[in-house]
């Protein structure tokens, strides 16, 4: 079986995988990172979104072998210890989650949007999230959370700069 080595949440990991193994399977089944979820089998729902080299990607559409050498961040790698990332904090503050199943993908997707657009309009958020399905919230509070989280991320970046 092919072997892959990659960085996941800052740690170098390597594993033997079948050719057909998906990145999400590597994360969940081999690395025990069960925060990344699988909600469909057609790459529609977005529950499995992670960052590969900083960009949001559906980890069910990527073969594990294709991520050799990549830098992957999952939902487990976002917070700083017990201190939530600004986007996570915004989801909590604005009640942008209910059952929590779509949440990891939703948050990872939102972080990528916020990096590209620090002040997205409601329309821009809704268009961006077209590939993330939530069945609980009706998106109303997710939109509010993403806008607030983007602002908070921009504020934190400005403070750091």
């Amino acid at each position: 079986m092919p072997k892959v080595s990659l960085t996941v949440n800052g740690r170098t990991v390597s594993a033997e995988v079948e050719g057909r193994t998906l990145l999400v399977q590597l994360l969940r089944e081999k690395l025990g990172l069960t925060g990344t979820h699988v909600g469909c089998d057609t790459s529609q729902c977005g529950a499995c979104v992670v960052h590969i080299d900083g960009k949001s990607v559906k980890s069910c559409t990527v073969l594990a072998v294709a991520t050799d050498g990549a830098n992957v961040t999952t939902i487990e790698g976002l917070a700083n210890g017990n201190e939530l990332h600004p986007m996570q904090a915004a989801f909590k503050e604005h009640h942008g989650l209910q059952c929590g199943f779509c949440t990891p993908g939703m948050v990872m997707s939102a972080v990528d949007l916020a990096k590209r657009n620090s002040n997205p309009s409601e329309h821009e958020v809704r268009e961006w999230l077209e590939g993330n399905i939530c069945r609980c919230t009706g998106y109303h509070n997710i939109v509010k959370a993403v806008q607030a989280g983007a602002k908070a991320m921009a504020g934190a970046k400005a403070a750091a700069d």
Partner: protein
């Protein structure tokens, strides 16, 4: 209210684990030595099963075992039970055909499980399943309800395709009222079949302990105790003491995770056969063809009116699709959760409804968010708009004229229910104001200039939830009680664990229930943990559905708190050398009334577990109490939803541009969570009205079997919502709460369709069935098919 008590928008305690990827869903659990199951499912809708040859598959790499329906039968195990018996018009029981765990003799829908392969990995199980040779002889397919009742139709079950033919109300009085009618409004309508689609696919792990003989089932359930009862008592004959059911974090349910499913029984039973844990996780494609579907009614309705537009009588005939087998609570949905709601918020003195439940070669249909009540509301609120058109009256005016007045409660309807409270004029007035109903015509004119057809629609609805008084549902055919259980364990240091038989799969119980306790005991919610979802921790429970968690489960917590406070007062009285009658609980302290003598809550709890100075002759040590609460009545949330749409006549695309919901949900414990519940319900209701539908072809093949075919509402399909509450209190539970889980999905579909019809009115359209897709609207507008829609 305190900062964390009843009425405070407390941020959720459960969010941290979900936001950091530390949720613990069934598929996240792995047991030592675990194997994996894959179900071979029927690809045809109706066939007799001949020989099943598993010999090749059994030799495939990694295969541990293969089981079929014959193995279940040989082991003397039962089928999946139905939890509700409905009687026919003549008093005879409904047809209740067997529902084998794995198919026996016949397959009856695409997705019906035929065999299970257990292997070292999921992929190996899946690969091996392809090697099973099943001889199927196809039978004629009963694809639709119309097919089911055709003369000479193929029989899905030995007793034919009719499950029951039921009615409610006074038929003679109804006919007499229609004879007196000034005008009659009529409507034929379809309530489209939906697929629930909780984002977490179902999963189950069966784990038999050979040392103790105990079984554990981890499952994606809204009600683990109910699963333990149904599976233990009726399917596998395992006593409760040897069967633990754990429903950990569950990623949404919406009804579809109430029911006892074949996969749960299979992995539990087979784990003892193979002596190892067995895990099964559903593919989304599998979930489309194995999760119980929702709705699927075809109805004809008529309303008789007098010359003032007052409703005299309502007559309804409905066919309801049960699918191929009876799912756990299926028979109750189109009867006691549907026809009993047909009076709605109106004084209609006579209602008569006939409901025929039919079997078809489709996935079983059961409760989905709202369950029966959205079907009743859609029918009634569409019909009321037609009543207004028939009378030439304003849509709002005809509603106001027929409302049950706010001083008429308790109000007895002609279809069994007695409403305890409500103020329909108030929710209507509030919604009209928030939506700027009065300013709509200017918005319509402005839209017209842009080439858009703008419409506004209203729905004034009511629902019955907080299910339910056990004696009442028992008399109606329920085979279970519908009380709830709570256990409050005060620990020596004064922290508290609340054990509830309800189950949170998104509703935020860990926060709302903690608020109830914080409010009563005056301690911080950080000191309160809420535990649910494990039959070994909680004495019993009926679970979460029917918007019952607060009205029933919350009341059980209040009752347990009553006992805790009562006992704590006795301990405090002893320590403070006062009479228990003089002790007050204030801000977390037990105070001797009128003095500054007090003991903190933590001092009392410590004394309870370290009873050195203690009234040991009259009070037991410890501070833990259990309460069971059986509700006295249903609760009756209601309200007014107003939808505004714009239709692009060139494309037929409908955009919801404004949605206002004003709901009476009783007392609000956490307004943030309440609003979130309404938002989610609205999305599902708007989804039903505009986007979602389950499609089968004539051969019983599921065409809408993936997210590429079934239109889930996405962020860019929906607007932001204007949501408000305007509550009257429930009169029969101590919190005054009614429930909020389903109102959004119940009130919204008719508001949307009424808006679409309003937008299309000048083109002659009088009705459109859900979902009002662009193709349907474009066809109505452009291909001269208006007459067909009328």
């Amino acid at each position: 209210m305190g900062a964390e008590g009843i009425g405070a928008a407390v941020r959720r305690k459960e969010d941290f684990r979900f936001l950091t990827g530390r949720g613990n869903y069934t598929d996240d659990i792995n047991r030592p030595g675990q194997t994996h199951a894959y179900f071979l499912r029927s690809q045809v809708a109706h066939a007799t099963i001949g020989k099943i040859d598993t010999s090749k598959a059994a030799k495939a790499p990694g295969v541990v075992a293969i089981f079929t329906g014959a193995d279940f039968a040989a082991d003397g195990k039962g089928g999946l039970p139905c939890g509700w018996l409905v009687k026919n018009k003549d008093g005879s029981p409904m047809q209740e055909p067997p529902h084998p765990v794995l198919a026996q003799g016949k397959v009856r829908h695409v997705g019906d499980p035929i065999a299970v392969v257990i292997a070292e990995t999921r992929e190996q199980a899946k690969d091996a399943a392809e090697l099973i040779d099943v001889q199927l002889t196809e039978l004629p397919v009963v694809g639709t309800m119309a097919d089911a009742v055709k003369p000479g139709a193929a029989k899905i079950h030995d007793g034919g395709n009719v499950c029951y033919d039921w009615h409610i109300g006074d038929k003679d009085a109804c006919e007499a009222a229609f004879k007196k009618a000034f005008k009659v409004a009529k409507l034929d309508l379809v309530n489209n079949r939906l697929i629930p689609n909780a984002m977490e696919p179902r999963a189950a792990i069966g784990d038999f302990d050979r040392a103790t003989g105990e079984y554990t089932l981890y499952t994606t359930s809204q009600n683990p105790h109910v699963i333990r009862l149904l599976m233990g008592a009726f399917v596998l004959q395992i006593p409760e003491s040897r069967l633990r059911v754990v429903a950990p974090d569950v990623g949404g349910g919406f009804g579809s995770k109430i029911f006892h499913y074949a996969e749960e029984a299979t992995v539990t039973w087979a784990s003892a056969k193979v002596g190892r844990p067995i895990k099964w996780t559903c593919d989304r494609a599998e979930s489309f063809m194995s999760d119980a579907h929702g709705r699927d009614h075809v109805s004809h309705a008529e309303m008789a009116m007098d010359k003032d537009g007052k409703f005299l009588a309502l007559r309804v005939k409905t066919d309801a699709n049960m699918g191929a087998y009876l799912s756990t609570f299926a028979p109750a949905v189109p009867t006691y959760l549907y026809a009993t709601l047909l009076a709605g918020v109106y004084t209609t003195p006579v209602v008569y409804a006939e409901v025929r439940a039919l079997f078809t070669n489709t996935v079983p249909v059961d409760a989905y968010r709202g369950a029966g009540r959205p079907e009743a509301t859609f029918l009634l609120e569409r019909l009321v708009d037609n009543c207004a058109a028939e009378m030439g009256m304003d849509r709002v005016e005809i509603r106001k004229r027929n409302f049950i007045p706010s001083d008429a409660f308790p109000y007895q309807t002609p279809v069994a229910l007695q409403y305890d409270s409500g103020d329909y004029q108030a929710t209507l007035a509030s919604a009209l104001k928030i939506s700027d109903w009065a300013g709509f015509e200017a918005r319509r004119a402005e839209a017209k200039k842009r080439g858009k057809l703008r419409g506004i629609g209203i729905s004034t609805y009511l629902e019955a939830c907080g299910i339910a008084p056990s004696a009442v549902v028992g008399s109606l055919g329920a085979r279970a009680g519908l009380y709830e259980c709570a256990n409050i364990r005060v620990h020596p240091t004064g922290s508290v664990t609340v054990f509830t038989g309800c189950h949170s799969h998104g509703q935020g119980h860990e926060t709302t229930y903690a608020q109830l306790v914080a409010d009563r005991l005056g301690i911080s919610i950080d000191q309160i943990e809420v535990s649910h979802g494990d039959t070994n921790k909680i004495p019993f429970g009926m679970g979460t559905y029917g918007s019952r968690s607060l009205a029933v489960g919350g009341t059980a917590i209040v009752k347990a708190l009553d006992k805790i406070v009562d006992k704590a007062k006795k301990i405090a009285a002893h320590l403070l050398e006062a009479s228990p009658a003089d002790i007050e609980l204030k801000d977390g302290k037990f105070v001797v009334a009128g003095t500054d003598k007090a003991k903190a809550f933590g001092e009392i709890s410590l004394a309870a577990y370290v009873p050195h100075n203690y009234p040991i002759d009259t009070v037991e040590p410890g501070l833990e109490e259990t309460a069971f609460y059986d509700p006295k009545n249903f609760t009756f949330p209601g309200g007014c939803h107003i939808c505004e749409v714009e239709i692009d006549p060139d494309t037929g695309v409908t955009k919801v541009v404004k949605f206002t919901a004003v709901d009476d949900v009783g007392r609000v414990v956490n307004p943030m969570i309440v609003e979130g519940q309404v938002h989610g319900g609205l999305a599902q209701g708007i989804g039903q009205a505009l986007l979602e539908t389950c499609v089968y072809d004539g051969n019983g093949q599921l065409r809408s079997g993936s997210y590429m075919d079934y239109t889930m509402p996405r962020a860019d399909d929906l607007p932001s919502f204007d949501v408000a509450t305007q509550s009257t209190l429930c009169t029969h539970n101590p919190l005054g709460v009614k429930g909020v889980g389903e109102v959004g999905a119940i009130g919204s579909p008719p508001a949307v369709i009424n808006a679409v019809v309003d937008a299309l009115r000048e083109t002659g359209v009088r009705h459109i069935d859900m979902p009002a897709t662009p193709a349907k609207i474009w066809a109505l507008l452009n291909s001269g098919r208006r007459a067909a829609a009328e």
